[in-house]
Symmetry: C2
Subunit: 526 residues, 2 copies
């Protein structure tokens, strides 16, 4: 029996609030600090490691977090989710993105369809299509091979797939699996579509229109842009366009597309990178085998997330430490700092994943909660961020928890030795140095050069950004966000907060405005 209770009704949460705080600078100094970093490390999927030595926790607090996990039935709730219960209560939907990459529990049958089989069938369809494109069996009207794929989508149809593409582009080039360049059109700003279209060779481009409902205004508008451009170039759009959508959407029924690959209402946009939304573009760009490895990494991370032991479940542990920082220590923002240029847009994806899932103030029953929920997420790759906003992170008046990600090896294996070290060594030295600088600080009589320390961080360490480790990293954060939503008793899988803006924008376009809305419309010349 699962109980969906608000966090502040739980005995273990009250116990957590009463725990003595950790003096991070103190416990991280000297040989005790070394022991702590060695001990506070848990294995993740695909060879990653989650190290939380520099988090403001200790054995006592971790023991209470384990109780909180038990009392809030976090792993049981995950089990209910992957076995097909209606976890998205607001929209009365199942939540099945994990099924796109593995079978975690029972068969899930919905509307008479085995959903795992359905997702696999879509992947197979996309893989076969991609193979034919790569083999030159599917070509443009002139019989020439396609060289570029352009994804037209916004939000989850853009951020995740784009971040994943950028993460693997150079890896694929290095490893001989790079098939087609990918570009992305998302913004309704016409300058976005025009710039991308000016940049691609239309005659050799495939365009994927991605919209679950088939009604996303930005995406349909940008699709029209592309159709216009193809027509002006004398090209037959139906030979250049694909759709990724739900079976019930207007796009699914159209004969205007070369092919359509399906997702469904049980996969939220921000959780769709492992569905056909990511699958079509990534399979075309890198080949289906690379996409399959990416899914394997994610599946391995999901399997680990079933574990009730905090120290064998990095997503669960990361989630609980985050709740402690948010609700007990009062930290309201988290910086995501990947020390890998390949992950340049991974923070933007996490921003959506986390803030759209848990940026809520009512629980899953629609009742206001009395505690703060999802934090603001931001970040840029290191070492770039060091020369930018790290000043505030080190010496600002607020404490911002940090999520580092670092890899032992570069993707491209090309490096130079300057001042006796490679660039990759410099990169790794910097992330190690930052963790300790943030945690321990350094006293200086000149207060302007004084570092108080006590600024907590964790680091995920991997060998290299590969399809597998990227899949594992993605799923780690999906599962972390899910567990945090369970603790806060939220529905992490709807997004009602985006609706009002859409309604008012339609009113502006229909010139049905009054009051302040009319004045702003006039100021903007609409």
């Amino acid at each position: 029996m699962i109980n969906w209770n608000n966090m502040d009704t739980l005995a273990s949460y009250k116990e957590l609030c009463g725990q003595k705080k950790v003096n991070l600078a103190e416990v991280m100094t000297g040989e005790n600090g070394a022991e702590r970093v060695k001990k506070y490390s848990v294995p993740m999927a695909a060879g990653l490691t989650y190290n939380f030595g520099a988090k403001s926790v200790n054995d006592e607090i971790l023991a209470v977090l384990a109780k909180l996990s038990e009392e809030a039935q976090l792993v049981e709730k995950f089990e209910a989710l992957y076995n097909g219960e209606v976890i998205n209560t607001g929209e009365k939907r199942l939540v099945l993105h994990q099924l796109t990459r593995g079978q975690l529990g029972k068969d899930v049958i919905a509307e008479g369809v085995n959903k795992r089989e359905f997702y696999v069938a879509q992947q197979t369809k996309a893989a076969e299509f991609a193979n034919k494109v790569h083999a030159g069996e599917i070509t443009n009207a002139a019989g020439e091979k396609f060289t570029t794929v352009v994804q037209i989508g916004i939000g989850g149809s853009d951020l995740g797939p784009r971040a994943m593409y950028l993460a693997l582009e150079n890896w694929a080039k290095k490893n001989g699996t790079f098939k087609m360049k990918a570009e992305f059109i998302s913004n309704v700003d016409p300058d976005d579509a025009v710039a991308v279209l000016n940049n691609v060779d239309l005659a050799h481009s495939l365009f994927i229109v991605v919209s679950k409902s088939g009604t996303t205004l930005e995406t349909l508008t940008n699709e029209s842009f592309v159709r216009d451009a193809l027509a002006k170039a004398g090209l037959d759009a139906s030979k250049h366009m694909l759709a990724v959508t739900s079976e019930t959407s207007p796009l699914a029924k159209s004969s205007d597309y070369l092919a359509a690959f399906f997702m469904d209402d049980y996969i939220g946009g921000r959780y769709s990178s492992t569905s056909a939304v990511g699958g079509a573009v990534l399979s075309l760009a890198f080949g289906p085998d690379v996409f399959a490895c990416f899914l394997n990494g994610a599946a391995e991370a999901d399997a680990q997330a079933k574990n009730k032991d905090l120290f064998n479940n990095a997503a669960l542990l990361d989630a609980l430490i985050g709740v402690y920082e948010c609700n007990v220590l009062g930290y309201r923002t988290t910086a995501v700092l990947p020390y890998a240029q390949a992950l340049s847009r991974f923070p933007a994806h996490l921003q959506q994943l986390d803030m759209e899932s848990n940026g809520k103030s009512v629980n899953r029953f629609g009742e206001p909660v009395n505690y703060t929920t999802g934090p603001v997420i931001f970040g840029e790759p290191g070492t770039n961020g060091q020369h930018s906003f790290y000043q505030l992170l080190h010496q600002g008046t607020d404490i911002i928890p940090l999520q580092f990600v670092g890899y032992k090896n570069s993707q491209m294996d090309t490096d130079v030795v300057i001042q006796d070290s490679t660039s990759q060594q410099k990169l790794c030295a910097n992330v190690a140095a930052q963790i300790v600088a943030f945690a321990c600080g350094k006293a200086d009589e000149n207060r302007n050069k004084n570092f108080e320390g006590g600024r907590p961080s964790s680091i995920i360490i991997g060998e290299k950004v590969t399809p597998e480790s990227l899949g594992a990293l993605l799923a780690h954060f999906e599962n972390k966000v899910m567990f945090q939503g369970f603790v806060w008793n939220l529905n992490s899988f709807d997004q009602e907060g985006v609706q009002l803006g859409k309604v008012l924008a339609k009113r502006v376009l229909a010139h049905e405005t009054d009051g302040a809305l009319k004045v702003y419309s006039d100021l903007l010349n609409i």
Copy 2:
């Protein structure tokens, strides 16, 4: 006589804390809301307008903010700055970035040099160089024209120039002033340099090494990468490389560069877009005339910032409203949301500008302050953000003030009509709708669909992203951040918080570590 006092010692600040709060949803509703939006609007430079109708202020609060401006002598402090006083007290330096674009007050003579003349001379030198490159008078060894310019720099040598380049790239293409494509290498991650170098035509590329000190490790490392690549391609690096640096740096003395353009210690990296740091790359990319227009826009904004009247000084007003939100209302984060794809990296630049300037907890005399200072800054272009993190902005438990930017026209003038409106109209309709949705909210019996409103925003409205309006936008934020630093009594022009990480990273590379630092180094295989 200027008094540098902490904010909490000022009578007007105490008065501000005692003001009755505004019920934003209430005052923004109905015809009163319309009147308010019309009234709360001030002109900016280059045809921009700052509208603060949806901020949580009223005439009473604005009157106290005007008192605070007087009592804290904000405009007098700006006057002292541009007349050459030592405002950067920590490093004992003048602060002269405004002089790169105009003469605001007295001649500033430092080390016997008229600094305005010095900056103008560097611009002229860069302009002449760029003109010769464009005319084919300066070419590669084979006598062929250069087609690409690559900036090698990090932090302020990267973020500002890159954001400005991206903002004007399509405008320049549309307006026939596009001369050369620009690329940027910043991260010490070797994959960054390798990917850029694989992407450019080395034989026809100019590389600009940008480092004020000439000792920035990331930049020197990436320079070596480039020199290696040029050598392997059989090219003479001295025919392909420029330097932007200070006259006293090692780079300035080297004969390894085609040319060197100078900045100095009185221009902080994050304020350097209008100096040679931005000037060389932007003049090469778009021609010196475009860069001159950009400077004109910034100079016009600076001139407005001298005005003591809050309602004729948008930067001052924006700064004071920000202080009210930060210190009285307790909002700790600000989202920057430009509704223009051209400004895709403008938020990343502002993140450095603001967080590195005011992310401090000691005042300009090195004494701890008892109030919160600079907020966290993050953002992405609209409408993309709407499909991502706006959920939290609308319905999360924290209130995040919003800084919108919107333009009446697109840069490229290519558009399509879908559902009776152009993409540009949809873009503008969305930003208008968002402002009202955030401010007014909308009651719903289903609490999950309920919007409380009361979420404040301002909007800067312009005709189009042009060199002039971009310069004005950039200078607006530079001046806003400066005024906030004055209110908080900070030194906004140093960055001691970045030092400790550098020291520890060097120690890691020298294998001189112990304790936690050694363990992290081992985990990362250094």
